[in-house]
Symmetry: C2
């Protein structure tokens, strides 16, 4: 393990080859905004034509929300030693409210930069950090409240629409949804984005020191997003492994990535990740602060924590999990719990509070933290340090006491125009999930909710992507804006690439199932395209439109590996004679061929249906 | 493939070794009923003791519902050439309402029995079938309506309770549920079982020719059950593979198994499965009937179908899927669908109806079918032949027209005292799932609902165990009695053993999440036991209490393979310093050790909590 770690050499760092393969039958496209440097990436999947006995038609390509950045674009040349293009740089500079610092404000960053023993690990292309000019507030919320539509906001609007207007002409089918109060416009305008950010109902995590990102939005009235956690621990993993996990995670669809490293070289690992990440990066700064005091929670101080915030803000972290709601008075409320405090950050702060008999310094210093956040536009992700770690502890007094405090802190953050989202549980049985969402909306003024699962049962270690995927789909439907994935390794070990992919696809399913249930405009287009391909035995299209084309193909080929099977009108499940899809096609063909008049088919007991049927033209299958 | 098939020799058939390993730290126990031959099997998992700084306590063993039959009992010797012990034989004989037939009533069975070319495949220990005596009705519903509590009913009552009364003394915690009208008694009595079967709200599938089963019940007021589909196709699989899949499926928790074979040697395959199955076996007889007419749906006749029902009823199939609701008049309602008719049985019958311009013979001959069902106690599973095969087609007119017909057929079945459940969809977005359950309850007089998923999105081939596991958990919560599993191979290929295990564990999760949400008495005991083990770093117990101990151990060991790690108070996710569980323990220990009086800790802003806190005794952690 440390052998792997030591092997990492900055001079030899290379992108993971598996991250840069284009997805099958897909091409990267860019939709241009009001200025030529607003180039919004999407993935376009080409489909083959329908070729059935009675039907030949062209199938238009499908547009897919694409989180993979330039990695899947064969036109890009990727060198992780250089980092990604700073696409936001002109937008930030045009605002003229920031400046490059002559040197970092963080003592720790300064030490790291001047430690020759780290030279071989260091990201080679490091720039000086940017900060708001004196008395300037550089948050997207600040601009939004001033009525300014930033390029970031316009980017997000174009991205959310996914060229929906082009599909509207095709009259695609979609069920009306049940949105529980979410307001989903038919078209996302830049002004709608601005107003949602101004109201605090959505955030665009976009640190001015992370100009490489393709902006995205997190809010109940937008597509449900997912986050993937990566990060090393004291036990395992290296810098290159973590960068590979990031590029792997966005390939499968992670909208943001949290670097939860708690092992060696946290600072350097993070630099490599941010410089190469087209998605927002989140962290839990208390983890690194604890590392700096040798793991002794009692030794944490505001000064060390503050320096860590500066260090990470200046590297470009887009959102911080801050466990400011773990108040001293709430710690005793966890005493009768089955599983105590299970949030790492929450337990660290609880220990500090008890040891010092003092209120949590993240709470008492909250306005000072806001000052830092708004100088870099780091968003708050207010941590749920007292979330339940078991079904037994769900929705208890400790959890909801903290949630109320997070609501109060949200108001303070908003006073400073700091973008804010709220973290949620945890382990919650299905019937208690909605209460979480309803209380969060009520307590926190509709600030976006960002939940971990929740896990709907405790009894399946090894399958907690599934126990939690169920809860995630539900809470996403109820209104959660971003779902933090859980991998099959949850409770057991650190996820590897296989686990990351499994966790992300599971959460893409949960998020999409939620979009469908909410009735998000256009959400059903992809389902329709896949099902049409399936019904028409366009196997390659069925694979390619799915969330994981590689696995679909692999599973199909396990029993029917020949290329000819990709055009066969049956599969290995039923064989040719029992294929319902094929029979159903046969029924259509048969009826069309014979021009069946069905009147003769109606005998006693079918009169009521017959009348309705005749009214419709009396053909068994008519043209749509 | 056919090479594998030909290799199967009756004389060399052996049980799959992987099916007969006892589960870790588990022993098979039997709870005795009112007569000594009512021996209800359960699995007891031994737990290690709690050994923490401030706490030593014994953890009582956990009782788990066990579907694995004698296979996991080291005291049993399994020989699949002999089949399982006929535990129901004395119960059936005591009722004196059945007789052994001198020979089978099925012509096809007769032919098969006398075909020397099948000798090498034939189950060696075949007995003559049993049938109701003239004018006798031998269904559990018939007995229930006469006020008779059968040994099967008593067996089921004991089994459902899972020794709950022994746990009640321990005051385990459980959240009150939300049951949507389900009536869940604190203790299941034999009389309650009888009354639910009499009302048609539950069924006990138990063919008199399948005396080997350990009876189980399917109903909204009992534990949610799951079914696993197995079966060969024309493309792949052999007899021994299918028997192995059955023993593998029940090991992981399948409550019933459907043999959906459509390939070679369907009759012989089924015989091997039934004789070795301790769980009810379901089939779709139309599949075999179609096979008998060379796969030409138009050539199906009532006579061939009737002979198939007799053949399978006399082999011991416990429930038949019958697509009697696919009426000719409904076929045109599917014309504008995106994916037509996707049920195999449904599409076969639709094709037959159209070709003959006649009403579905399963509908017109329904009372004749009931006569057969009640002579063997085969339960109906009324098939949803018009279920939606895509999100677009969910809850449409065709689907609900069929459901209304299934309701009418249920009344006819009940007139004959034939046990009946109703099959449900399919592909349905989350927000349209409840309508399915509500309509089913209303149309079908609360007959048990048995659903396939439903899949909540179409876009994830390769992961449809998850797209459907979400829907299954929801519909189980709403009141579905049995969930038919979906494996990762759905839409792509025939599941192998890996897929069967993945599908079953996913569905055990869905069923258990539903039980928790409904508030099934005692459902939370297992969650509590697992979470307590997790919090106390009893790693082995955490693995063993879970649904898949092997995978949990394997995942843990990927990063920390040493035995010492199984007692470590941390894991590879966070390492020792960041382990919230460990810190939370430390907090408890610290408080207990210091006997902390927290008054001094309360300063401004905490007064309101302080009062409450003092009222509780002012210790941070008090004894429970």
């Amino acid at each position: 393990m440390s052998a792997i770690l030591e092997k990492f050499l900055s001079t030899q760092a290379r992108v993971d080859e598996s991250a840069i393969q284009p997805l099958p039958n897909s091409q990267k496209i860019h939709v241009t905004g009001s200025r030529s440097d607003i180039q919004v990436p999407m993935r376009e999947i080409s489909l083959s034509n329908t070729q059935l006995n009675n039907k030949q038609e062209k199938n238009l390509p499908l547009t897919i929300y694409d989180t993979s950045g330039p990695y899947t674009d064969p036109k890009s040349s990727i060198d992780i030693r250089k980092g990604l293009t700073e696409i936001r740089k002109p937008w930030i500079e045009d605002r003229e409210d920031t400046q490059r610092l002559p040197q970092t404000n963080s003592q720790y960053s300064h030490q790291q930069a001047n430690d020759p023993s780290l030279d071989h690990l260091r990201f080679p292309n490091k720039k000086l950090p940017r900060k708001a000019k004196k008395d300037c507030n550089v948050t997207q919320m600040h601009y939004a409240r001033q009525g300014i539509i930033t390029p970031e906001m316009e980017f997000v609007a174009i991205r959310e629409n996914q060229r929906l207007s082009e599909y509207k002409a095709q009259c695609f089918r979609q069920h009306p949804g049940q949105s529980f109060g979410a307001q989903l416009p038919n078209e996302i305008t830049p002004e709608f984005v601005r107003s949602e950010v101004a109201k605090g109902r959505a955030i665009i995590p976009a640190n001015i020191n992370h100009p490489e990102i393709e902006p995205m939005i997190i809010g109940r009235n937008f597509l449900v997003k997912i986050n993937a956690n990566i990060g090393n621990s004291a036990i395992t993993s290296s810098i290159s492994e973590e960068v590979d996990k990031m590029t792997w995670a966005i390939r499968w669809g992670a909208d943001t990535v949290m670097d939860l490293s708690t092992g060696k070289h946290i600072h350097e690992t993070r630099e490599w990740i941010i410089r190469n990440a087209p998605v927002p990066i989140g962290t839990v700064p208390i983890y690194q602060a604890l590392e700096k005091v040798g793991g002794i929670a009692e030794d944490l101080t505001w000064e060390i924590f503050r320096d860590t915030l500066l260090e990470q803000a200046e590297q470009g972290v887009d959102y911080f999990t801050i466990h400011a709601g773990v108040r001293l008075a709430y710690v005793p409320l966890t005493a009768s719990r089955l599983t105590g405090i299970v949030s790492r950050g929450g337990s660290i702060m609880a220990k500090w509070c008890l040891a010092h008999h003092q209120e949590n310094f993240l709470y008492t210093r909250f306005e000072e933290i806001c000052q830092i956040m708004k100088a870099y536009d780091v968003s708050f992700s207010l941590g749920d340090g007292l979330r339940p770690g078991s079904i037994a502890d769900a929705n208890d007094e400790a959890q909801f006491a903290e949630l109320e405090t997070l609501g109060a802190l949200t108001q303070i953050a908003w006073k400073h125009n700091v973008q804010t989202m709220i973290e949620g549980p945890g382990h919650v049985p299905m019937h208690l999930i909605k209460e979480n969402m309803d209380k969060q909306l009520a307590c926190c003024g509709e600030a976006p909710f960002y939940t971990l699962g929740p896990l709907t049962t405790d009894i399946a270690p090894g399958y907690d992507h599934i126990t939690s995927g169920i809860g995630a789909a539900l809470i996403g439907w109820y209104g959660t804006a971003m779902l933090c994935y859980v991998t099959p390794k949850e409770h057991l070990g650190l996820p590897n690439k296989r686990d990351v992919r499994e966790g992300i696809v599971t959460y893409k399913i949960a998020a999409h199932a939620a979009d469908l249930a909410k009735g998000h405009p256009g959400a059903q287009i992809r389902d329709n395209a896949l099902s049409k391909a399936r019904f028409e035995f366009r196997w390659e299209d069925q694979f390619n439109v799915g969330l994981d084309p590689d696995r679909a193909r692999e599973y199909h080929d396990e029993t029917l590996p020949k290329e000819s099977a990709k055009t066969a009108h049956f599969c290995s499940m039923c064989g040719p004679k029992f294929c319902s899809m094929k029979i159903s096609q046969d029924v259509r063909d048969y009826a069309a061929e014979k021009g069946i008049e069905t009147d003769s088919a109606f005998t006693q007991g079918m009169a009521e249906k017959a009348a309705e049927f005749r009214h419709q033209g009396s053909k068994i299958y008519r043209e749509a």
